[in-house]
Symmetry: C2
Subunit: 427 residues, 2 copies
């Protein structure tokens, strides 16, 4: 089955918004074995929108649109979809009722515009919107293949533009519809890894990727991390889920040491949940990352139960004041050294009285590197209390990273991920 | 002049990459008065690419492509552009020479693939690539308007896919070419604001926006900030620049109090440069932002000259230990209060011995709010030394923010921007 994704909205053509809906839909459709052939974007113009829907369906079975479902004059996706697919808008009383009760709950007044949202194509399948007021829908038409005499069906599925409404509607309502359409139940999972590049990951997994049609297995790189997406389509959900789980077990044999989640969770969430579930308290001492580790960990709601503090000691004076790093250590080995990283991690753990202390010191760049200590050199320290590591008086580990990359942002981000990795592997 | 943007690459259709090139090109083309009518994406397939170029030119004067210019078998944009526009690839000796010297500088071996990159359409205008090896180019064709008998010219401009190469090539080579094509010199600037929403901004600026054709003026919202882009196209660069500057002066009359940059710079850069140029040292005390302020400020290279430390005191104990916040204050007013914010800012300034101390404490959410202290409530403290404010023993200010927004990420980001705003307005 071949699909096109059509984004409707003049603001996209102005470059006001990055089109993340299309990225999301592309992944999810590929996951379930639907080939995405084209992306299109068109403005809020009836003639061009109609023409673009026809273009989209030129050699695809289905076009999924986002945007233009709202109640204002700019919004015309419903009308044009009807025009192209040969249907008309009628009042759907059940939708009207659900919008009315939604407005009531928000103590808002029902306007003509709200009523207009209950107008939907007469023979459509409705997708309810539980994050907003504009419902989505799917509509089909029969087209005659030229000459052959046989009919072919084509579909349009129209979803709202706001990403939160769109993704929710897609997962809850569009997915089951696509399952019916493609006659199968679809399950996918995402394995997240750290410490291996995308091309290495692909090479290592080649025996699994090669010749595999179901489950499908594909690698993705983003922000210095690589993930593996595994998807299966079977006649029952249980069968698909167990096929995915089997493939994950196989993948673990090849890349087990790099995996930190098989549920698509991000590193701060995985480490944060691990610490919270085991009630292990943590403090951090940061230098080159400037607070990015603390900022990432505190993205996790509820983390205050275990996260005590992060001391961002940018100057040498701050490292001595706050973390009791010795002046001799800084003088002899420098601020970017194994010795300083170790003293920082120990210093913050003892000061905060937490179970673990993690530290980072490095040269993020783009300047400030030397022959001996190049840009990209980073040391991560991890100090563990007796209760965590079992050693009397605890112990402190250090990891050296030497990437020779000049990019400040990438080096900082990689350093933070390395801190999470260091905790994940050793606690 | 009407334009389409065509992205070439199967990885985009898989959802592996977010299409930021299209956002960039859309803005830049709109800036200079070229109407972007459509976005298209197609995979690395010769037949579909050719068809898509024809579709793009159906009712546009120019199509700008990105991607598919590399040296591998997947890359076919050059060949297909020639096919559609009626030209052929020939060896460009000057390009070959520049690639050879580039490879020599990197001590890399010249391969057949590198040589292939010097093959370009015979009658194209070449865009040199000084960030990579694949050159770009523009090519035209004449089309007969049906019936009228008069000729119309159409253009294709092919740029490389990697954003760094594409943006550099666009600014250095494509812009001047577009200026020739549209017969005018183009200048644009971006005003960045904080503290006003997009719809308010638009309403306030309406007298300037309404009926204005040159300079054009448009508002954009992104990540809790709003910016205003002003562009002018005139017969000389000086004339365009002075038209833009005049419009900026007018805009200042309406929104002066919200502006922090008229050069499109981000808040951390503006504040960081201000502190560095005046040699004002700074320390921070963060709670709900978890380190995000320090992380943002230390994104600015060279900031170590003035940034001393940021103490992320998540627990009450950490606030008392690190910042000398009084136990009574925490007990009487709570951690999220004006009093605590003030003691945090004073505490970190005195401890670090810096000229200013900035603090933040709040309830980021999504949970943890009460009737009295709802999610979204944030206090920002700013403590200034005598040398900065002129008052004996210095002074400390506090700002209360009460946004009633449940979104943790938005609240944290807004709190960080408010800290920068507080410094920018008061130092």
């Amino acid at each position: 089955m071949k699909a096109a994704i059509l984004t409707v909205g003049t603001e996209i053509l102005f470059g006001e918004i990055t089109n993340t809906n299309t990225v999301y839909l592309s992944r999810r459709l590929n996951d379930i074995g639907i080939d995405v052939m084209y992306h299109y974007t068109v403005g809020d113009n009836p003639g061009r929108l109609a023409e673009m829907i026809e273009t989209s369906l030129r050699d695809c079975d289905i076009v999924i649109t986002t945007g233009g479902l709202g109640p204002t004059q700019d919004d015309m996706t419903k009308e044009i979809a009807c025009q192209v697919m040969g249907d008309e808008l009628v009042m759907h009383d059940d939708i009207l009722e659900s919008i009315r009760s939604r407005m009531l709950a928000y103590k808002a007044v029902m306007t003509d515009n709200n009523i207009k949202q209950a107008l939907l194509p007469s023979r459509c399948r409705v997708f309810y919107n539980d994050a907003g007021t504009a419902p989505g829908f799917a509509l089909d038409r029969k087209v005659c293949e030229d000459g052959s005499g046989s009919d072919r069906r084509q579909w349009i599925a129209c979803l709202p533009g706001p990403p939160k409404e769109m993704t929710r509607m897609f997962e809850r309502s569009v997915m089951p519809w696509l399952e019916e359409l493609t006659e199968g139940c679809l399950v996918y999972k995402e394995i997240r890894t750290f410490g291996i590049g995308e091309s290495d990951l692909e090479t290592v997994l080649l025996p699994l990727i090669d010749g595999q049609t179901d489950p499908t297995i594909a690698t993705y790189a983003k922000n210095g991390e690589c993930s593996v997406r595994i998807a299966s389509k079977r006649s029952s959900r249980e069968e698909a889920a167990s096929a995915v789980d089997e493939m994950i077990a196989k993948a673990k044999e090849y890349i087990g040491q790099y995996i930190y989640s098989t549920e698509g969770e991000e590193f701060p969430v995985v480490v944060g949940n691990m610490l919270m579930s085991r009630n292990i308290t943590i403090a951090a001492a940061e230098s080159c990352t400037g607070g990015l580790f603390g900022a990432s960990l505190t993205d996790v709601p509820g983390i205050s139960a275990v996260f005590d503090r992060s001391l961002v000691t940018y100057s040498n004076q701050a490292k001595m004041d706050e973390l009791d790093v010795k002046a001799e250590t800084l003088e002899k080995y420098g601020a970017v050294s194994e010795q300083t990283a170790i003293e920082m991690a120990e210093g913050v753990r003892l000061k905060a009285g937490t179970d673990i202390g993690v530290s980072v010191t490095g040269i993020a760049g783009p300047d400030g590197g030397t022959e001996e200590k190049p840009v990209g050199l980073v040391y991560i320290g991890l100090s563990l209390s007796e209760s965590v590591c079992g050693e009397k008086d605890g112990m402190t580990l250090c990891r050296k990273i030497d990437r020779r990359i000049k990019d400040r942002q990438r080096n900082r981000r990689h350093a933070v991920l390395s801190m999470f990795d260091m905790i994940y592997r050793n606690v």
